[in-house]
């Protein structure tokens, strides 16, 4: 790779046709000024609003810092971590996030892949279908949550209306007011809103698979399923790993739906309490910054773990730059 530097001073008038041949060696000091000018705004913002708060979260998690409180801040060691790990509500939240991930990751990934395969075929109306499947993503999660809240009303919601007709009135879940159906209600909303997004990512992956591979498979007499199994899936490997990773992390960031949909945050017997709700209530409502920071750190470590697993799985076939 050959690097050519843009070595003109930034503010200099473009008319100055000075020594541009000397570029290579004379580059350094002017080049540095230019690079600083181009980088400074973003670097400063990243330092102040990303790196600093990130380090703060770790530091604060070992203190008893509170929000707008005159009490002195003290170093409390692992107390915050001890407290959250012995807190039933925290584990309840963690369990709910895990349950949500366990359903949404396979369901949404499979559904998105199925949609992508369906609309990747040469159909006259495929653009229409793609658009329609992506539409829910454009309605923000806050809107999706509120609309589904009404659709899922036990007595006057459309979903139970349809279910009642199909099951002759036998299946009438209580959805958001029921301990066991509240989480499925959240899942339904999330999948509806999010599946189009993943579909588009899969579509990009599908289109990167060379058509010649399918032709070769057809020549070898592979049927549709065999083509999917032996050409499509291996070709989508990295996309799949990426989508699963994103969906898993998204599952642990779950907030909007559980904040907006149940009658009160947390849902019936905490059935929809999540880590992010816990974070909000600890840090904002109860003003315990230190303890909320500990939740944030645990959450980050989880995201890190998921990503590292993805990097490992995805590495094998990644193209080398």
């Amino acid at each position: 790779m050959s690097h050519t530097t843009l070595d003109k001073p930034a503010p200099a008038p473009p008319s100055a046709p000075v020594a541009r041949r000397r570029a290579v060696s004379g580059a350094s000091s002017r080049g540095r000024v230019v690079a600083i000018l181009f980088s400074a705004p973003a670097l400063a913002l990243l330092a102040v609003f990303l790196i600093f708060p990130f380090v703060s979260a770790i530091v604060l998690s070992f203190t008893n810092q509170r929000l707008a409180s005159p009490l002195p801040v003290e170093f409390t060691g692992l107390e915050n971590y001890q407290r959250i790990f012995t807190d039933g509500q925290f584990w309840r939240s963690f369990g709910n996030n895990t349950l949500f991930a366990a359903i949404v990751v396979p369901v949404q990934t499979a559904a998105a892949l199925a949609l992508a395969v369906l609309v990747n075929r040469q159909l006259r109306m495929r653009l229409f279908f793609r658009t329609v499947y992506f539409l829910p993503t454009v309605t923000v999660m806050a809107v999706a949550s509120v609309v589904w809240k009404v659709l899922l009303l036990p007595d006057s919601g459309l979903v139970n209306g349809v279910l009642g007709t199909l099951s002759f009135g036998n299946l009438q879940p209580g959805w958001l007011s029921s301990t066991s159906w509240a989480m499925p209600a959240i899942v339904l909303t999330s999948v509806w809103q999010g599946v189009g997004f993943q579909m588009v990512i899969f579509l990009a992956g599908l289109q990167a698979i060379p058509a010649s591979l399918y032709e070769a498979a057809r020549v070898d007499g592979a049927n549709a399923w065999q083509q999917f199994r032996h050409v499509t899936l291996p070709g989508l490997r990295n996309t799949l790993v990426f989508v699963i990773n994103v969906t898993a992390i998204f599952a642990f960031r779950l907030f909007d739906q559980v904040y907006l949909m149940p009658q009160f945050p947390g849902g019936p017997t905490d059935a929809t309490r999540t880590m992010m709700l816990q974070l909000l209530q600890t840090g904002y409502t109860r003003r315990m910054i230190g303890q909320a920071s500990a939740i944030a750190v645990v959450f980050f470590l989880f995201v890190l773990a998921v990503t590292l697993v993805q990097r490992r799985l995805g590495r094998e076939e990644r193209t080398v730059r």
């Binding site: 690079a35 980088s39 705004p41 806050a142 509120v146």
Partner: protein, 294 residues
């Protein structure tokens, strides 16, 4: 005609394959259509509900009537607009989104350019650091940021919703990879013509990189427009509160009127829907660009 002849004897048209293919295609359309109906139902329901007298939303809820406003009226829109101070909320969302997206495009693309094309010591280390920062989710920063905003006196302001979100390592990386793939010849030609880096960037790179700007703009817009957790923490008053928080307040505001709530939802969705339908291609590319990350 189609169903029977297609699936029956394979004599009619051509030798083999053809009729089965038609049959398949029909099934394909059927499945696609069915899914489309399911995906559209909630949106249709929302608009139908918005156009109905308040009491009808729940009364019609359980049947097909839920999807059709039999006695259409615009009253809900007027009432929702007034009761929720919708105009102000919309303005807040537009200000926050506009500033975050706009400033973000400038700042992130400039840094991406410095990483991709300018030569400076420490560049590779900084690039690696930026890539590493992508993994930090905002939620991990929310609490310390809340403390920061409180101490800065930025609570309940626009800047608390804008400034922390301008620089974004993922967008920087997207710009970086896009710029890296651009041919160098044009830049060199510009340099020979005496253009400085800033001018080269402005008049050569930016116009060539419209797809990258469009992708980042759309991703950034979708992220900002829907944000809920942060503004719940950082805003208190209607003066700066964005639409999603407004929605969370309005949906519990007595007297609870579902028609009004659906009208609020519809008014909140229409702008994004229109933008999406106009810039569809860019939307899809923007989302697909996500996968570039790995």
């Amino acid at each position: 005609m189609s169903l029977f002849t297609a699936s029956g004897r394979r004599s009619a048209r051509s030798a083999a394959g053809r009729p089965r293919h038609t049959h398949n295609l029909l099934l394909h359309y059927l499945i696609c259509g069915l899914i489309a109906v399911v995906m559209l139902l909630p949106i249709v329901f929302m608009f139908a509900g918005a156009l109905k007298p308040n009491a009808d939303v729940l009364a019609d809820g359980g049947s097909w009537r839920a999807l059709i406003p039999l006695h259409p009226t615009l009253d809900n829109f007027i009432s929702a607009w007034e009761r929720s101070n919708f105009g102000r909320l919309l303005l807040n969302s537009l200000v926050v989104c506009g500033a975050t997206v706009g400033l973000g495009l400038v700042v992130n693309s400039m840094f991406g350019y410095a990483l991709a094309r300018l030569r400076w010591t420490g560049r590779n280390v900084v690039l690696a650091a930026v890539v590493a920062l992508i993994i930090i989710p905002f939620e991990a920063l929310a609490i310390p940021l809340l403390l920061m905003m409180t101490e800065l006196g930025w609570l309940d302001t626009y800047q608390a919703q804008i400034v922390p979100f301008i620089a974004n390592p993922f967008f920087i990386y997207l710009f970086y990879s896009f710029f890296l793939a651009l041919p160098r010849e044009l830049e060199e030609a510009a340099r020979v013509d005496g253009a400085g880096p800033w001018r080269t960037f402005r008049s050569i790179i930016v116009p060539l990189s419209k797809p990258a700007y469009a992708s980042v703009a759309i991703l950034s817009f979708l992220m900002t427009w829907g944000q809920l957790l942060w503004p719940v923490m950082a805003t208190r008053s209607e003066d700066v509160r964005p639409l999603p928080v407004g929605m969370s307040v309005f949906q519990t505001l007595p007297p609870l009127q579902w028609g009004d709530i659906m009208a609020f939802a519809a008014m909140m969705t229409v702008p994004t829907l229109v933008v999406f339908l106009i810039f569809q291609r860019a939307f899809v590319q923007g989302v697909a660009a996500q996968a570039v990350k790995e």
